[in-house]
């Protein structure tokens, strides 16, 4: 499969994402934010970083980059889009995902391993994650506290759009396991159509045991499986 990893000014996890995708046996290329077209790609990754210096609000300016029009169109056509950390913030600011990411409740930047509970295998981002497995992946953010109003939150639950929650090593969703104060420990969500997702943790930094954990690969393996299924369906 062929992935585009977007590169905004001050993206800094773009190379990590490209490395992880190639390491897992797929093709990935960087795409500068001034591009108007995605070319022929199977999926798009919005990487972590501090695009546009986090000026005004995290992700607020990036959504005006020319490439974001192409991303919107790609998503409207059912293309798979994953935003990681700052990429998640960009997707919420662009209106491609509901809610917002605000300052961590303790005002600290958190750079540590956390555990993730996957709430549903029913998405292109979670279908290969072994049932009941807590994923050990790193976070590195100062503004990762997920917020949505009550109505939005109710809709997320009804539609099974909450994909990941922060949990402890045993898979228990507790306040102590919540690193940033996110509503209901929410670490990642998808849109109603289930083709756009975002999460604050960094699965791309945890795809090889040499780096401390390879649990993050399950997110990408899910994407590969979903794309495989899609291309088979398309060919048939």
């Amino acid at each position: 499969m062929n992935f585009a990893v977007l590169q905004f000014p001050a993206s800094n996890c773009d190379q990590d994402a490209v490395h992880a995708l190639r390491h897992l046996g797929h093709s990935a290329n960087l795409l500068w934010h001034k591009e108007n077209s995605l070319g022929s790609v199977d999926a798009v990754i919005l990487p972590g970083g501090f695009c546009y210096g986090d000026y005004l609000r995290c992700g607020a300016i990036a959504r005006f980059s020319p490439v974001m029009q192409a991303v919107k169109q790609f998503a409207d056509n059912g293309g798979l889009v994953l935003g990681i950390c700052n990429g998640f913030q960009v997707l919420t600011e662009a209106g491609l995902l509901p809610g917002a990411l605000i300052r961590n409740r303790d005002l600290q930047f958190h750079c540590e391993y956390i555990h993730l509970k996957t709430l549903t295998p029913d998405s292109p981002f979670t279908n290969k994650i072994p049932a009941g497995k807590s994923l050990r992946v790193p976070i590195a953010h100062g503004e990762g506290c997920y917020f949505a109003d009550e109505e939005t939150l109710a809709r997320l639950k009804t539609n099974n759009q909450i994909l990941w929650q922060y949990c402890d090593a045993g898979g228990n969703v507790t306040d102590a396991a919540n690193p940033n104060g996110a509503l209901q420990n929410i670490a990642g969500i998808c849109n109603e159509r289930r083709n756009v997702a975002g999460l604050m943790p960094h699965p791309e930094r945890a795809c090889e045991s040499l780096l401390g954990s390879d649990d993050g690969k399950w997110v990408f393996e899910s994407l590969f499986a979903a794309l495989e299924k899609k291309s088979v369906a398309h060919a048939a």
Binding site: P98, G99, A100, I102, R103, R105, L107, F147
Partner: protein, 81 residues
């Protein structure tokens, strides 16, 4: 002519900065502080002679689309001479 925009976090949104400053004020002995909300102030310079009503409409649109995030923030807009 200037547009002045004051952006504050919505009531339902956690405001850890406000809370921290509130407790600092309490520690300093300032009594009677029941809440602190920390936001942003943006000043936009407008060309002299700009139509006030038109400017209000345009900046209001910009405040909604870019300057604030309506999911988490409220804003007040004033066009001043």
């Amino acid at each position: 002519m200037k547009a002045k925009i004051i952006i504050t976090p919505k009531k339902a949104v956690l405001d850890p900065q406000g809370k921290t400053v509130q407790s600092a004020l309490e520690h300093m002995g300032y009594t009677g502080v029941t809440g602190v909300h920390i936001g942003k102030y943006i000043e936009i310079d407008l060309a002299p002679g700009t139509d006030k009503a038109a400017a209000h409409k345009a900046i209001n649109d910009a405040a909604h689309k870019l300057l604030s995030n309506p999911v988490i923030e409220d804003y007040k807009l004033e066009i001043a001479e």
